[in-house]
């Protein structure tokens, strides 16, 4: 019941967390390209970094231990651009639509501001402009206008340590599998391969994902299917229940008339 079935999985980005040095240029590039503001209270870098209406991407700092040695890791977060987006299936006015090239795009003029997308997203990505009178939902658009022209998203291009690789999801997946199988340091899990039915942003790491703030209990079944499982009953219920109600109405009314009761039916 997806709106449009795409033949190709589209473009994606593979993020190798072992390469990130936390410089934050990706986040800056995102702010510049998308003309986003800055908020001192919600940092886009560091230990308290988080996504917000102004931070479409954020680089969070983690101090951890690996083999009894202190290690530091930096995790770039943004919308994962699901293959079967929960936000798209949750939105009742089509403000979210996955495009053929892969990005899941938000169209502000269609948005009612109900925030069901924020609830539905298994990765808690969409954020709301709480300080505005007429707030909109915001999230990473994967620089869809650039992707449509065959260019990589703004954040990918500026990365000085090649943390991110942009390309066809199929090829990225093959590349990721090859990398984690050929190098023992990697966790044998490609985050985004199956999560929520698969995402176009993929992650590999040498630290277990749950220690890096990733939600690892997320269902591998597309969230859309849960809604579809319910909604598929709507048409038959309308026909069957509507028919049954009409039949019961006519039958019980007729029975009363035949029984010769003097009371005529008076609705209400």
């Amino acid at each position: 019941m997806a709106y449009v079935k795409f033949d190709t999985p589209g473009k994606g980005v593979l993020v190798d967390l072992t390469k990130c040095v936390g410089c934050g240029s990706c986040s800056l590039a995102c702010k510049l390209w998308n003309d986003l503001g800055h908020d001192d209270e919600v940092p886009d870098q560091g230990p308290d970094a988080k996504l917000s209406d102004k931070n479409w991407t954020a680089v969070k700092f983690f101090a951890l231990e690996k083999d009894n040695e202190p290690v530091y890791r930096f995790v770039k977060n943004q919308c994962l651009h699901c293959q079967h987006p929960a936000c798209e299936s949750a939105c009742f006015s089509r403000a979210f639509q996955r495009t053929e090239n892969g990005p899941v795009v938000y169209y502000p003029h269609l948005c009612v501001g109900c925030r069901y997308c924020m609830l539905a997203c298994p990765f808690d990505v969409p954020k709301f402009q709480w300080d505005k009178s007429f707030p909109l939902v915001t999230k990473c658009q994967m620089c869809s206008s650039r992707v449509d022209k065959g260019e990589a998203p703004a954040c990918v291009g500026v990365c000085p340590t090649n943390v991110m690789t942009y390309g066809d999801r199929d090829e990225l997946l093959a590349m990721a599998r090859k990398t984690i199988e050929s190098d023992d340091k990697y966790i044998k899990h490609i985050y985004g391969e199956h999560e929520a039915g698969g995402t176009n942003w993929l992650y590999i790491s040498d630290i277990p994902f749950e220690k890096l703030g990733f939600r690892t209990d997320v269902t591998t079944r597309p969230i859309q299917e849960y809604s579809h499982e319910f909604l598929k009953y709507t048409p038959p219920v309308i026909v069957a229940w509507g028919g049954l109600l009409s039949a019961m109405y006519v039958y019980t009314k007729r029975r009363k008339e035949v029984a010769g009761k003097d009371k005529k039916d008076v609705p209400m």
Binding site: S89, L119, G242, V266
Partner: protein, 380 residues
Amino acid sequence: MEAQSSKWVFRMTPIRFLLLILAGVAAALAVYRLVVGLGATTNLNDHWPWGLWIGFDVLTGVALAGGGYSVALIAHILHIEKFNVIARSAMLTSLLGYLLVMIGLFLDIGQWFNFWRPFVSWGYHSVLFEVFWCVSLYTTVQVLEFGEIGTEKVAKSWHRLFAKAMPFLLIVGVLLPTLHQSSLGALYLTQVGKLHPLWWSPYIGLFFLMSSFFVGPAMVTVETSLAGRAWKHWVDVKIIRSLQRIGVTVMLMYLILKIWDLFARDAMQYVFAGGLESTMFLIEMGLGVIIPIIIFFIPWGKTRAGLITAGALVALGVIINRMNVVIVGMIGYSGAGYIPSAIEILVTVGLVAGGALAYCFICDNFRILDHQEEQHKVAQ
């Protein structure tokens, strides 16, 4: 009776005056909220996108207003005529409930001037789309159904037309709530892994539907007792009891299905696990389902006081259930708490007060409670 005269009356009492003040305060705050936005007036944030207004004004309001469709089904579709005496007040409460829900929804959306968008931009595979269409259509249907009562007093020449349309309106008016009562619960299907397993279930839609059905008779009981006091119009205990029998039957099926579901999903372990979720779940089920069932089957359940108590508990249980789904069941995942702001609470209180005032005004002026003799007249 005042209702039969063509004059308009509105008796002012101290309670009504208080309600008027509460509704007025809420109206002013609502305008303020529409101007300055949600962040400045509510305690909602990125962790808590949905709070009191969705939880109480919408999800709970729609369920409590369910009395309209269950009574319409019983009295008018199945033609069990003894229930006619309560049908009008039940359906009026339902209409007012839905109007309040619409206002609550309107206040809760960020782009409120864009509320009409889903009518033209069809996000048809959203559960919310079904909720939106059904609630809008059903409110319209209920306004038209009220037309049959309204035209007894004003625009009398339209009365025949409205009366003629009633069978169709009634059937659609039962069909639509069946769809959206369940879809309100199904909204939370997307919360797999987020909503606590005591409430998240593949059958959450069915649970919402069943509870909205059995809360109908309960609400009618409470409401007729309040109206009875106010207008000295007492409905026969036997009628209330046989109406509640229908509710209790559905409630028993609900209880069995709930227990089966908890076992099937291996969630029974959470019921007596202690902590906030299990406590709230036990309160919800104990107070709102098990005790009312017990009351119904003991001698006290044959008295008016017993039936009113049971009805009030069922209504309270459904309120707790909806708030558990929207707030308590989400605290574990969110890791943060949520307490509604004073403005959120005052607006909610004022909406309920406004609804009560509207109910009083309509009862004063239209034939809602005392319409038995009218029906006899038509029958002869």
